[in-house]
């Protein structure tokens, strides 16, 4: 149990690369915190600095108020689960799990009892005498967890612990990790670049970009109130749709049509007098098939017509993909997100829109469809700074 504080922690690698810049995170005792961000944003580096596997260039790391910068990993009383599991191949499962206890010179009887206990929790009892190489991926993952929990450390650090598992097992292990952490109440820092893990596991999520903390908050808060374009585009799956728009005469002219300013939007745009460019962000679930709505509701929002490129029926709802004419929203943040998502096949002209419609929708692939969205739900961003203009934090 411990409180972990990162105070302006910076990491500069010998080759000059800056992997973390003035990272400030206060992790409360017993909290489950997620570090998330695209590849190369400094998640592992930050975690390794907490672990003591990487030196801290400047700033301070405190655990329970005590400065940790100069302490060796073994003196920090922190356990780590690696992406590759890092099980000792020459030791049996039992020896693997007992290893930290043996190093701590715990008496044999206690070691046996603790390992048996952990094995029971993780459902590994019948595998205790096998070698890691004879285990399945999920079992290896559990051994790695077991090795971390046996000695009841102050904190757990996990670096993408589930990313080597197949999709189904990952979902299963995700729930057990979450349950285990709740049961033990141990402070946990968890690195992932999986959307779902970030949203479902943590008490709070830290979004990193190029070594800078973008925003820290509960998953729901980050979803509803992203601080900037980057967080908005990163959190949520499928991700938020962005369109360029121009503000003039109390209206937003966008490629989806004219959006009349609601009170909320007018407030953030300071009355909406001055002409300016903004980026409009709309979540897929804020769209609806106009045919399903009554006239009164329809009148409160914006309706546009487009041709359905692809329709995916998920049973509970339908995902409809459109291409909307007009320019694409441009910003460095969006470009970076596109690279991370591996999206290089974006249409030449117009922008792709993902919408989540009710299952009752009659939309068909290749056919035109009227789509409605609620202007009160849209977010507005400043194209140059990327800041969320609608942020009310």
């Amino acid at each position: 149990m411990a409180e972990i504080v990162l105070d302006k922690v910076t990491k500069r690698y010998p080759d000059g690369a800056i992997a973390a810049s003035e990272v400030d995170i206060n992790i409360a005792d017993g909290e489950f915190i997620i570090l998330v961000g695209p590849s190369g944003c400094g998640k592992s580096t930050t975690l390794n600095m907490i672990a003591g596997l990487e030196d801290i260039t400047s700033g301070e790391l405190r655990i329970d108020g005590a400065r940790m910068n100069e302490r060796a990993p073994k003196d920090r009383d922190i356990a780590m689960v690696f992406q590759s599991y890092a099980l000792y191949p020459h030791m049996s499962v039992r020896e693997n799990m007992a290893f930290p206890l043996r190093l701590a010179k715990v008496p044999d009887a206690t070691v046996k009892q603790k390992v048996d206990e952990a094995a029971k929790v993780l459902d590994l009892t019948q595998h205790l005498d096998r070698k890691p190489s004879n285990l399945s991926g999920g079992q290896r993952q559990r051994v790695a967890m077991g090795r971390a929990i046996v000695r009841s450390p102050k904190a757990f650090l996990m670096d993408e612990p589930l990313s080597n598992l197949d999709a189904k097992l990952r979902v299963q292990m995700r729930t057990s990790v979450s349950k285990l952490q709740k049961q033990l109440g141990t402070t946990t820092v968890y690195v992932t670049h999986d959307q779902t893990e970030a949203m479902t596991l943590g008490d709070r999520v830290v979004v990193l970009r190029g070594g800078f903390v973008q925003q820290i908050g509960s998953p729901q808060f980050l979803y509803e109130q992203p601080a900037n374009l980057f967080v908005a585009g990163f959190i949520g799956s499928p991700s938020m749709n962005f369109f360029p728009a121009t503000l003039a005469e109390n209206k937003l002219a966008s490629s989806l049509g004219e959006i009349a300013l609601t009170d909320r939007l007018r407030r953030v745009l300071e009355g909406g007098k001055a002409q300016r460019d903004v980026i409009v962000g709309v979540r897929p679930e804020h769209f609806e098939d106009a045919a399903l709505l009554d006239e009164a509701t329809k009148a409160t929002g914006v309706t546009f017509q487009a041709q359905v490129d692809v329709l995916e029926s998920m049973g509970s709802d339908k995902y409809a993909y459109f291409t909307v004419e007009g320019k694409q929203a441009e910003s460095s943040e969006l470009a970076e997100l596109a690279v991370d998502a591996g999206a290089s096949d974006v249409p030449e002209s117009g922008s792709q829109v993902v919408t989540r419609l009710s299952a009752a929708s009659a939309a068909q692939e290749g056919a035109a469809c009227d789509i409605w969205f609620d202007p009160d739900k849209v977010l507005l961003f400043d194209p140059s700074s990327g800041a969320n203009l609608t942020y009310t934090g």
């Binding site: 003591g52 596997l53 073994k74 590759s84 930290p100 190093l103 701590a104 190489s133």
Partner: protein, 280 residues
């Protein structure tokens, strides 16, 4: 189905035949030596493959001559010391090559490759002169020196290949589990590296054990002559005796450690020992 069955059977027969041919080709001379070594003096030249009269007299004889016993002692001592030195230095060099990025790493690898390729015979006369001048000629260090030189590249190559296979994340994991760097090395890295070091040691040992060129050119007396060189000086008990039998017996004796090593070493190198540490 039937066609495939026929084809594979025919294939099996073809391969078995080829394998047999290779084995016979390789083993006949060895068996011939073994056969010669067990023949009595009278039947030595009868040309029979299987001795008509079995005798271990040749073995008794060689162990009674100081010439052979002393050479065997030299061989064992020199090979062990050279192997030890080459493996210790090689382990450090290979560790650096596998783990660290340092200036001149490529040059080091290049130079060691160069040494391995170097025609040994062109070094014999300069070494002869140098060792005579330094007083190393016909001493143990005089042979250990070139053996370490040529054993090192071999050691560096095999060991760095082994070290690259070790998942170094294990070292980090051990540190997180509370190990000091020394403990991490002793309890995690060393057990994983051991088979590699052992294999390398055997390869270097065989290299030095089998050497004839340096052994014959850099020695002149029993003080440092190893078995391969001593064999060529074997004479019979009397000048009229044919030394063929004793030479064969000596050859068999020095082959035994190699055979033992190879058998032992096949079991020791557990393939995929490190697999299972990484990924799922």
């Amino acid at each position: 189905m039937a066609m495939i069955g026929v084809a594979t059977t025919r294939r099996k027969i073809q391969w078995s035949f080829l394998d047999l041919l290779v084995v016979v080709y390789a083993l006949v001379p060895v068996l011939w030596i073994v056969s010669l070594s067990f023949k009595s003096k009278e039947t030595l030249n009868d040309g029979n493959f299987i001795p008509r009269e079995w005798s271990i007299q040749n073995y008794v004889d060689i162990f009674q001559t100081n010439e052979f016993v002393r050479a065997l002692f030299n061989s064992i001592g020199i090979a062990l010391i050279s192997t030890f030195i080459a493996v210790v230095i090689g382990t450090m060099a290979a560790y650096a090559i596998a783990r660290l990025d340092f200036p001149g790493k490529r040059v080091l690898i290049g130079v060691s490759l160069l040494v391995a390729m170097f025609p040994q015979v062109s070094l014999v006369s300069p070494l002869f002169e140098i060792e005579r001048a330094l007083g190393l000629f016909d001493t143990w260090p005089g042979l250990i020196l070139p053996y370490v030189t040529f054993g090192l590249p071999l050691a560096i190559y095999t060991l760095s290949a082994f070290f690259k296979e070790i998942p170094w994340e294990l070292e980090k994991a051990a540190k997180m589990d509370g190990a000091t760097p020394a403990q991490a090395f002793r309890k995690v890295i060393a057990p994983l590296a051991a088979p590699g070091v052992f294999t390398t040691a055997i390869l270097v040992f065989i290299l030095t054990w089998n050497d004839f060129l340096f052994a014959i050119s850099l020695t002149s007396t029993e003080a440092s002559r190893t078995v391969p060189a001593a064999l060529s000086f074997f004479t019979g008990a009397s000048q009229f005796e044919d030394p063929k039998g004793t030479i064969s017996a000596a050859a068999v004796v020095i082959t035994i450690p190699i055979i033992l090593f190879v058998l032992f070493f096949q079991r020791r190198i557990v393939a995929g020992l490190t697999s299972g540490a990484v990924k799922g």
